[in-house]
Amino acid sequence: MRYSGLKVITEGLFGNKGWKPAWRDPAPKAEYDAVIIGGGGHGLSTAYYLAKNHGITNVAVLEKGYLGGGNVGRNTTIVRANYFLPGNSEFYSHSLKLWEGLEADLNYNVMHSQRGLINLFHSDGQRDAFARRGNAMINQGDDAILLDREGVREHLPYLDFEQTRFPIYGGLLHPRGGSARHDAVAWGYARGADRRGVDLIQNCEVTGIDIENGVVKGVQTTRGAIRAKKVGIVVAGRSSQVAAMAGMRLPIESHVLQAFVTEGLKPVIDHVVSFGMGHFYISQSDKGGLVFGGDLDFYASYAARGNLPMVEHVMEAGMTLMPMIGRAKVLRSWGGIMDMSPDGSPVIDKTHVEGLFLDCGWNYGGFKAVPASGWCMAHLMATGESHEVARKFRLDRFATGHLLDEEGTGSQHNLH
């Protein structure tokens, strides 16, 4: 069933009785060419691109809960390509290009909105660091504009330019940055994969990975054993547990990241804005809620909930930067579990087991990576070779010292 404005009108005229399920609810088959463990954004997009780009359609996505129930359904929906380091630059640049064609490709409105992202800076040193990054973005072929204080004021007149603790020196504007409707991304990929024949199997938890003589043979699940020639682990948030089923110990520590949404308000914030002297970033959703967040709670956790000190820090940052949001009321806070890697960058790589592939370590930047992560993971699973834009996301780079540490904070998992 193809979605369109005309379809919405004709269905509306006939009581909306004709809408078909967005995806099937199949029972698992005994064997697939490829099994993807994890029905989140990355897993669904991997399945989609396996089918679409590589013609591999005998694929199952195994999800222990419901589709899109992980971090793709609990994030602050920011989409950007503003990285400095080679290795990251080309990957996120590729991802942004995919975002820009995603609605047409998926026939699903993921509400990708390039409203512009502004990273504020608060000292000369920060200005230089952001300029260095902005120049890298342009060298990569993406866009960046360095705003001075008055330039920021034109875009964001509501900031506190007079009294804020760390004066606003300017901002790096990334016009193609923006946001999207997070759930729709998962659902759009799910629907697209399903339409190409992929079996999306919910409430199916993987309990073991079958390996014989160093070759993957399939998985054990709560819904029975499934044989597969290739298995992809795409379970950010739970990577360590699933990888352990294959005898692996990962360079990952799991951390909780909180985010917040306010009650609906008439439009007041047009861009995605981030503060440079405290952890705070904000945008306004199409429904009117202010969606914002900050840093990790900083302790290893699998509880999808946080604690007050970080909540308060985020709110205080908001109050010093843009006190006009003070009277907006926080409606809901939530926490997601992040795969934190020792350099803040992800892994898309083969493993020591033949046929077993790993996509993990997205820290808290995984949402914007959903298209390219799936694209590259599918490429890796289909061809056995890393995609050219994901070549540096190697699992052994920590051992060899070829790090991709954008923040320069070092091998401490929670500092990225």
């Binding site: 379809k7 003070g326 809901r332």
Partner: protein, 969 residues
């Protein structure tokens, strides 16, 4: 309409307020909702999507409809619950989410388009042409969405945060909460009783009943008086406990000044962090609506709310009231109304076996299947068997039973349990350690049940605290709770589940039809439960409709998760204190005032404020001042406050050994009285910090760190010490704050220093000695961050200001003066000295050309990891100097002249630049691939953002006095 003789409002205190520009009168004790209803105002808002007319539904913070903007003197507050906001003299508010007037909202057209605006319609359209999304579709959607509005002006209100500690936190002051507080209070425990409303009592304020043989109101007054008198009991009114966090921490929001005219320094709200090992959740239960066709008109209200308006506020919301309810308990609303002389047109009870004792028509086994009235209810249709009965009514009180208010028990991921008898979810026991749900919050629906469970929980907590007490539980109503679950009534037209977000039963069914069968999918697809009431009015019914649509039971379907806050909390309250400069402490140098006296612009360096430069008359730009200051240091003498550098005093027999372990180079061999530059790595082999350490005595060192890394280094030292060598004879402590330290640099530095030392010293380069200045013991270091002969003079901080003023005055007599951060930066770039612009976290000793500083003779932190193959070698970028005749910029990237400019051809980047008055050129420091072997090459510097494209010369990073002759002079 106000009813004489009813209600707990103070009729001697009339209050005037405004709503949508009209003046109204209410009484002290009224909420905005009760006062508007008393004035027969039924239409108070418009719904989110269809802009349907909406009236007051509830009498509490769960209100989905009656949300207004309160207009203050300086700012407005959106989405204020009229059911919570107390009226006060001068309160001014208006309705929201309308285009035009509330009565004639132009966006009401959406209601006619509703067939095309069903759940998730926007995922299926607005995709073509692509450019129309940001340009046309999205702006229209955004403008239509949202409820109230922010003004865009800074919130200048006062907000407060506070901590409180107690033994027992009681949440809610209905019969269960009062009994718990009384029991724990009499036992001598420290009790906090938090009540969301402005008066104690909970349902006792709304229900006419008897407790312990007396009127409930009298019992309440008696208990309240005793609690107020107990010194160990703290009553917090207008305080909603909003979140349960780990280890007995609760968040709570107190409305401090929202119910009165603004006053200077009076907080609007206070956000409390309450720590309690034991907590009693006595939050009661929320009545739930029934989804029958057109159940959203103004005039259709919750039955308990109608009762609350009658008994607590003396208001009836209609002249001919009908009741549609499926429990015995809800009948009390009709009985109370009749007793007050209000006409009850009919009682409709869907239970076929329901009793019929009231003195009004009672339709048993019947359901409401339709309603009339454009801006307010005028009539309903009732189906009884095959018969349809038309009833004229302007107020329909509805009740679909009760949901325990168990939200807090879910804040730590606890899942509630479905109770088939109650047809409701009840809390999972132990879901929040230390928190025990009692009374209706735990499914004990009778007053007796509330008293007994509140008492029992408090008694157990008192015992756990080692206290005993005997408190009799008074007798009270103990009627069984009987209901037949009725979630939705079939019929023509839409039946609302989520009033606030305009989600109807059709939307939920459509979600199921389209495969969004998981409860989370349904919620996200329909937006049910995501409105300001957070699904308090709709979650369970929506779930029941989904369960039926998917052929599953409710328990199997599961629930979405309740997350903090229980009731929305303003950003300003949780962020209290963060406004303006409160976000982070300010650190001031002792020279701060002296610098400001000289009109130096003060800039932030971390938390510190440091002078940027010291302008002189006639200087038009900072560059002129900076160039002058640089020349002054190079030619005469300059004075700068460097007290912000971290200083750590390290003592003990193993102090040298400790430093050897921390630094790449060796300090145990440093002679007493000498200073050495040290490089410190992180354990991952990258450079953490650099600085000098002085050996003050055989077992006594003083380490300096950069300003930026002072805290980090201290934490690192503590870790290395405690984790790896706690038994060594070494102790250390920060003395950053204890010493004011000033750099004196330039060819005349020695003369200046000796001009005030009691005993002039002749220090060698990298020497340190104790000195006496004006009777004060200080320390003199001969170190330099400028490349000139330099000294740093340290005195106890209290003398800092005096010494700075004195040094500057002396310098000025020698053709010198103070210099600021800008000149300091130029001086260090000229000399190729590093800051955290270069040491940015991805840099190895090898990148800096300092690999020889990593001693081969000993282990040190970071040494092993630095040998990883990716950490050194020519493919990495290495520190170089750059020299150009045109302006260059930090942040630019480097390319081979003649090659294309893109990522693949990128050769490196620039970290620091300056115009060097000394060299007469633009100088830069940067990192270039295999840079050390490319000294002498020409390189192209490109900064797209600043429009620079300059050919530079790659040079040694030490531009000034590369042999160090001036330093050692």
């Amino acid at each position: 309409m106000r009813i004489d003789g009813k209600g707990l409002i103070d009729r001697t205190k009339p209050v005037r307020f405004r709503f949508d520009g009209r003046d109204f009168a209410g009484y002290k004790g009224d909420t905005l909702a009760s006062a508007l209803l008393a004035n027969d105002v039924r239409l108070v808002g418009r719904s989110f999507k269809y802009h349907r007319p909406r009236g007051v539904l509830t009498a509490g913070s769960e209100e989905p409809n009656a949300l207004v903007e309160v207009i203050g003197a300086t700012n407005q507050t959106p989405n204020v619950r009229a059911t919570v906001q107390e009226v006060f003299e001068g309160l001014d508010c208006r309705s929201q989410n309308r285009l035009g007037s509330l009565k004639y909202d132009l966006l009401a057209v959406n209601d006619y388009l509703s067939p095309f605006l069903s759940a998730g319609f926007y995922y299926k359209t607005f995709m073509w042409p692509r450019a129309f999304w940001e340009g046309i579709y999205e702006p229209i959607i955004r403008r239509a969405a949202g409820l109230g509005s922010l003004s865009g002006k800074h919130d200048e209100g006062t907000y407060e945060k506070a901590f409180a500690f107690c033994d027992v936190l009681v949440i809610g002051s209905g019969p269960a909460g009062l009994m718990a507080a009384l029991t724990a209070g009499r036992a001598g425990a420290d009790v906090i009783l938090a009540e969301e409303s402005h008066a104690l009592g909970g349902r006792l304020l709304s229900d006419a009943q008897t407790i312990g043989g007396m009127a409930a109101g009298d019992w309440l007054a008696q208990v309240a008086a005793e609690l107020q008198a107990l010194p160990n009991v703290r009553i917090m009114l207008r305080t909603a406990v909003t979140g349960a966090y780990d280890h007995g921490t609760y968040g709570a929001l107190e409305r401090v000044g929202l119910h009165k005219p603004a006053r200077p320094n009076l907080p609007r709200e206070c956000f409390w962090r309450i720590v309690a090992p034991h907590a009693v959740l006595a939050s009661g239960a929320l009545e739930r609506p029934v989804a029958f066709p057109d159940n959203d008109r103004p005039g259709i209200m919750m039955a308990a709310a109608v009762r609350t308006y009658l008994n607590r506020y003396g208001v009836v919301p209609g002249k001919r009231v009908t009741l549609f309810a499926n429990t015995d308990a809800a009948r009390a609303t009709a009985r109370d109304l009749m007793a007050a002389g209000v006409q009850v047109a009919a009682i409709i009870d869907p239970r076929p076996d329901a009793f019929s004792v009231e003195d009004c028509p009672v339709h048993v086994g019947a359901e409401v299947v339709g309603t009339r009235g454009r801006l307010g209810l005028s009539g309903i249709q009732v189906r009884k068997g095959s018969e349809i009965i038309e009833i004229e009514t302007d107020c329909l009180a509805m009740s679909g039973g009760w949901n325990p208010t168990l939200h807090l028990t879910c804040h730590m991921n606890g899942r509630p349990r479905w109770d088939e008898d109650l047809a409701a979810f009840v809390p999972m026991e132990g879901a929040v350690p230390g928190l025990v749900a009692v009374g209706a919050a735990n499914g004990s629906m009778s007053t007796h049940g509330a008293l007994v469970t509140g008492h029992a929980a408090a008694l157990r907590m008192a015992e756990a605290l080692g206290r005993t007490v005997s408190v009799p539980v008074p007798e009270a109503e103990d009627a069984p709770y009987r209901l037949k679950a009725v979630w939705a009534v079939e019929g023509k037209g839409r039946a609302w589940l989520d009033f606030a977000n305009d989600v109807t039963t059709k939307d939920v069914k459509l979600a199921a039809q389209e495969g969004y069968r998981s409860v989370e999918h349904m919620k996200r697809y329909t937006t049910q439960g995501m409105a300001p009431d957070q699904g308090k009015n709709s979650n369970v019914a929506a779930l029941a409709v989904l369960a039926e649509a998917t052929g599953r039971g409710i328990a199997e379907t599961g629930v979405t998760t309740f997350r903090p806050p229980y009731t929305p909390v303003s950003i300003a309250a949780m962020g209290a204190g963060g406004r303006a400069e409160g976000f982070a402490p300010q650190r001031f140098l002792t020279s701060d005032q002296a610098s400001r006296d000289r009109h130096a612009p003060m800039i932030e360096a971390g938390l510190w404020y440091r002078p940027s430069y010291f302008p002189k008359p006639g200087e038009a730009t900072w560059r002129e001042a900076c160039d002058r200051e640089v020349n002054m240091v190079r030619q005469a003498v300059g004075v700068a406050d460097v007290s912000t550098l971290g200083k750590i005093d390290i003592q003990g027999k193993d102090a040298g050994r400790f430093l050897d372990f921390l630094y790449t180079n060796t300090f145990s061999t440093l002679p007493v009285g000498r200073v050495r530059y040290g490089l410190m790595l992180r354990e991952d082999g990258l450079v953490m910090d650099d600085g000098t350490s002085a050996r003050l005595g055989e077992d006594h060192y003083l380490m300096t760190t950069t300003t930026a890394a002072a805290g980090l280094v201290m934490r690192h030292l503590d870790f290395v010490h405690q984790a790896f060598c706690a038994d060594w004879q070494v102790r250390f402590i920060s003395v950053t704050e204890a010493w004011a330290q000033f750099a004196v640099a330039g060819p005349k530095a020695r003369a200046l220093v000796n001009s005030f030392l009691e005993v002039p010293v002749d220090l060698p380069f990298m020497g340190v000695a104790p000195v006496r200045i004006g009777g004060v013991d200080g320390r003199l270091f001969r170190i330099s961050f400028s490349g000139e002969e330099g000294y740093e003079l340290a005195v106890p901080t209290r003398y800092g200001e005096a010494l700075f003023r004195d040094l500057v005055a002396r310098a000025e007599t020698m053709g010198g003066g103070p210099y600021g951060m800008e000149a300091l930066n130029v001086l260090r770039i000229e000399k190729g000295f590093l800051t955290h612009a270069e040491i940015h976290g991805r840099i190895t000793a090898h990148d800096l050309g300092m690999e020889k500083m990593v001693s081969a003779k000993k282990d040190c932190i970071g040494k092993a990891a630095a040998t990883r193959p990716g950490m050194w070698g020519p493919e990495r970028e290495q520190l170089v100097g750059l020299k150009a005749q045109a302006a260059i910029s930090a942040g630019a990237h480097l390319f081979v002249p003649g090659q294309e400019v893109h990522r693949e051809t990128d050769q490196g980047y620039v970290t620091s630049v300056c115009w060097s008055p000394t060299v007469g050129a633009w100088l830069g420091l940067g990192f270039l691939k295999d840079g050390r072997s490319r000294i002498g090459e020409r390189i192209r510097l490109v900064d797209h953002l600043r429009g620079l494209d300059v050919i530079c010369e790659v040079v040694n990073p030490v531009f000034h006095d590369p042999e160090g002759e001036k330093l050692r002079a």
